[in-house]
């Protein structure tokens, strides 16, 4: 077992864990933050995406041993975040959500994208969200949601 200290949604946390326990499992089991979902469990579908030190990563393949000092933002922290809140509202207004399982991951990838590129083209949105899979929507309304958020934030 190892002890790691890091920051989640602005709060300091300390977790005792097996070194290979995934960030996804730590968030859900140790910290009770169940908004982050497991899809494939091997870094391919993007459902578990969180932001680590400003960058979107798949939390299912980040392990405890790598977390010391890291700053993590999860979907639970989005409503207190200017870009995150705009994305949440825009996804609702655009009807971007169907079953909803993939949406926390999409929101986090979109948050990383808009932070870096506040006015992305459709192609840039597609590239930014290329690591997230949705099996319901066909993506069109998700892209609409990101564009709407970007437009509102730019005003």
């Amino acid at each position: 077992m190892i002890k790691v200290k890091f920051v989640v949604n602005g709060k300091n946390v300390a977790v005792e864990s097996s070194p290979t326990k995934t960030l996804l499992d730590i968030l859900r089991e140790d910290l009770g933050l169940t908004g982050t979902k497991e899809g494939c469990g091997k870094g391919e579908c993007g459902a578990c995406t969180v932001i680590m030190d400003g960058k979107a990563v798949t939390s299912c393949i980040v392990i405890a041993a790598q977390l010391e000092g890291k700053n993590i933002l999860t979907v639970e922290g989005l409503s207190a975040d200017r870009i995150g809140k705009a994305l949440q509202d825009a996804f609702v207004d655009s009807g971007a959500v169907q079953c909803g399982y993939c949406i926390p991951g999409f929101l986090m990838s979109a948050r990383a994208l808009l932070e870096e590129n506040p006015d992305p083209t459709l192609d840039e949105i597609k590239e930014g969200l290329s690591g997230n899979i949705c099996r319901c929507t066909g993506y069109v309304k998700i892209f609409d949601g990101v564009r709407l958020a970007a437009a509102r934030l730019g005003k």
């Binding site: 290979t20 995934t22 091997k42 993007g46 990563v57 798949t58 041993a65 790598q66 290329s130």
Partner: protein, 287 residues
């Protein structure tokens, strides 16, 4: 799942000491995108893990006197966006872009991709034609070897168990050099390459010299195409020259049939990608 002994040193010297003491039965992880999946699926028991992700001294991209130096922990996303790489090793930025999703590119490191010694690693053919040198360090010393001598087969390299790949460097591309990386996968993004072709040469007008070509995913390791390069040496680019070069490169490609593609398709596509790359470069190249 049983707990795997994991070392997370904060200094390179400490990491090298652990490697020299443990030698066998320890796997190095940085971004860990490949190994962690294998560990979590219990496909592999790595014995112990050496987590080098805290060695911030290995995170850099810089240009020193015409040489581009990339630290081992530099991620694919950092390479794809680096102004230095875009200018001085553009085809490497192109290859880093298609390696995977943004999330994976934010985690996976260039040294991890190279050290994994996969014949389909997209960054390796560009690094080969750029003439890259790998710096391997151990507690007893340091050696530099050309990337073409590094991998010996899928997952196998000449690196000793006590060594760590700490830096990748190559001569910065000059304004009179042209280069490209073209690859074919099931999808444009997020797919493993069926074939990859990297090209670099000096170009005066349309006359090619100092030609270097490397092929990914068509042999047990990334290979060069010396006969094609020799054919192109001193020739002026034309569609006819490109077509003949494509025929030669198809014969140098040593593909196999597997789940992703067939031998004959891969070999043919090595030629097609060479033609495609030339067309892309010479459309925009003045002269």
């Amino acid at each position: 799942m049983k707990s795997i002994e994991t070392y997370s040193p904060r200094k390179l010297s400490e990491a090298l000491r652990i490697l020299s003491e443990r030698r066998e039965g320890i796997r190095v992880i940085a971004g860990a995108t490949d190994i962690i999946v294998q560990v979590l699926e219990r496909k592999k028991d790595p014995g112990a893990l050496l987590n080098i992700s805290y060695l911030d001294e290995l995170r850099f991209i810089r240009e020193d006197e015409g040489t581009v130096r990339i630290g081992a922990l530099t991620t694919h996303r950092e390479i794809e966006r680096s102004p230095i790489i875009k200018k001085r090793g553009k085809l490497l930025a192109e290859a880093a872009f298609i390696v995977g999703s943004p999330q994976i590119k934010n985690l996976g490191t260039i040294a991890g991709n190279v050290a994994n010694a996969s014949p389909v690693a997209d960054v390796v053919p560009p690094l080969m034609v750029l003439g890259s040198v790998l710096t391997l360090k151990s507690s007893s010393g340091e050696r530099r070897i050309p990337i073409g001598e590094f991998a010996t087969g899928p997952g196998a390299t000449v690196m000793r168990p006590d060594e760590l790949l700490i830096e990748i460097s190559f001569p910065a591309l000059r304004p009179d050099e042209i280069s490209f990386y073209e690859r074919l996968g099931q999808r444009r993004l997020l797919s493993i390459s069926k074939v990859g072709v990297a090209f670099r040469a000096r170009c005066a007008g349309k006359k090619l010299s100092d030609v270097s070509i490397a092929l990914g995913a068509v042999a047990p390791r990334v290979i060069t195409a010396p006969r094609t390069a020799a054919f192109l040496e001193g020739k002026e680019y034309s569609e006819e020259v490109a077509a003949e070069a494509a025929r030669i490169v198809e014969s140098e490609s040593k593909a196999i049939t597997d789940i992703r593609s067939t031998e004959s398709y891969r070999n043919r596509m090595a030629g097609a990608l060479l033609i495609r790359g030339f067309a892309r470069v010479f459309q925009s190249f003045p002269g």
